[in-house]
Amino acid sequence: MKLRQKVEESIFKVLMILATYFILAVLGIIIYSIFEKGIKSLSWEMISQIPKGGYYYGKGGGILNAILGSLSLAFGSTVLAFIIGLPVALYINVFLIRKKKLVMLIRFLLDLVWGIPSIVYGAFGFSLMIMIGLQTSLLAGIITVTLFILPIMIRSMDEILRTVPIGLSEASYSLGSNKSETAFKIFTRQSISGIITAILLSFGRAIGDAASVLFTAGYTDNLPNSFLEPVATLPLSIFFQLASPVPEVQDRAYASALVLTLIILIVSLFSRGIGKRYHKTKINF
């Protein structure tokens, strides 16, 4: 009996170690193969020019349209989601602090919405667009992506705001401030690092998602210059270039993927750095 248990434990331990290092190895392989493939065709021309005529048959040009398009789309929707999301997160944690059941219901709804796949948002955004008579455009893309990242934004802010000690808000009330002042002046400052992390997380999601912008943002070879015109996005640019039968264009898809991965890695590095740097001193009440 003793022996069997020992054997069982060691077998499982080996399996566990294998599983853990498998995950780390997969991450390594992904990063390595994206870099190895992408770095070869990555050039200054790629990231500083828009596609020239015949770009999709291997002629010159770059993906500046997609880079700028993705950045403006992600930036716009992050700002919009922040404008809607911050008050909701604050409201849950300042105004509804005593109504546990209601707060639980709202968090539950948010989690439910968070789980909805982005293609569903894309389809919904598309029918919304048709309803209000909007063409595929930057604006339609921003609206759809905003809906998609809102739950992420609110829930991650909420997770930080709920750690604000109750004593801090009591101190604020006792000095005569009302609830919205407490919310916007005390709570936001206390959890500024978490809020920035939430914003960067949403930004990363917004820039990487393709399924929700497929219907709504369209695609163009021009630089984005108006809210009402279609806009190119990096994920779609990768997708379209990869679908081409021409090897040079496929190589450019790898380079575009490298650009997108780098943007996301930089954003996540930033959010880590900022999280550490602006972490306010922990207050104990």
Binding site: M16, I116, K179, G208
Partner: protein, 296 residues
Amino acid sequence: MYFLNRKQRHTVNYTWMIVSLLLIALMPFFLFLGLYLKSFYLLHDFSLSELLFSEVWKPSAGKFGFYPFIVGSIWVTLIAMLIAAPVCLLAAIYVTQYTRKYFLRIMHPAIDILAGIPSVVYGLWGILVIVPMISRYIGPFMGIKTMGYSILAAAIVLAIMIIPFILNIIIEIFRSIPVELKEASLSLGATQWQTIKKVMMRKALPGIIAALGFGLARAFGETMAVLMVVGNVVKLPKSVFDAGYTLPALIANNYGEMLSIPKYDSALMFAAFLLLIVSLFFNLVMHFFIERYNKY
């Protein structure tokens, strides 16, 4: 805002909060209603069982059978879960029970990076690595000729995509198990493995089920990565090496032509509606498992 006095500012802020909150709270209902109304044309003309279980997909002839897509989606999702679930569980136990604290500090960024990689990049990686691997090694090894673009390729890519998501939740669950429980078991003479197997696993089980359910819902709706490696052939898959088609891929592939064929847009919205229902259903059920975990 500083031209307003304190009370007015409070009113403005308060209204802003309430409006935003209502917008969020009503979003699932809007989504549900919007997609339902859009797919209503289709539901009006065909019966639900006809749509779900017919194999014939010929939009130009007015035949909409979603069965191949549903089967494709289920295959891909289940195989992905079969791969991801044991890996996540084993890794989570190892990381939380057998290693020191610093290891978690290495794992967390790794998980975050994996979770942050966009699905298009996963798809591209699948084409670069997984598809050739299947067509050159795994297929011939099993004695099957395959292109590589297959259910299996999609499932492997999908498994890797949802691993960080599931792993994160399971790690949190194991970390939230009270230490006293473990100590009590150890002090009664149980070995560490017995404690994990008989005490911790039992405590964590509802949480683990919930984590897997959330992962499953996420996998079911994943679009781009699957679309890029699954092969996109409308037929019932016979083996995992066959090419298939999934519901999200159907929507994403055909949005361009959907306005030119009658009822086609309604059919695609119906596919989105199905995805929405599956996702809401799984998240609802799994939420109750999490509740149970929190209770006991």
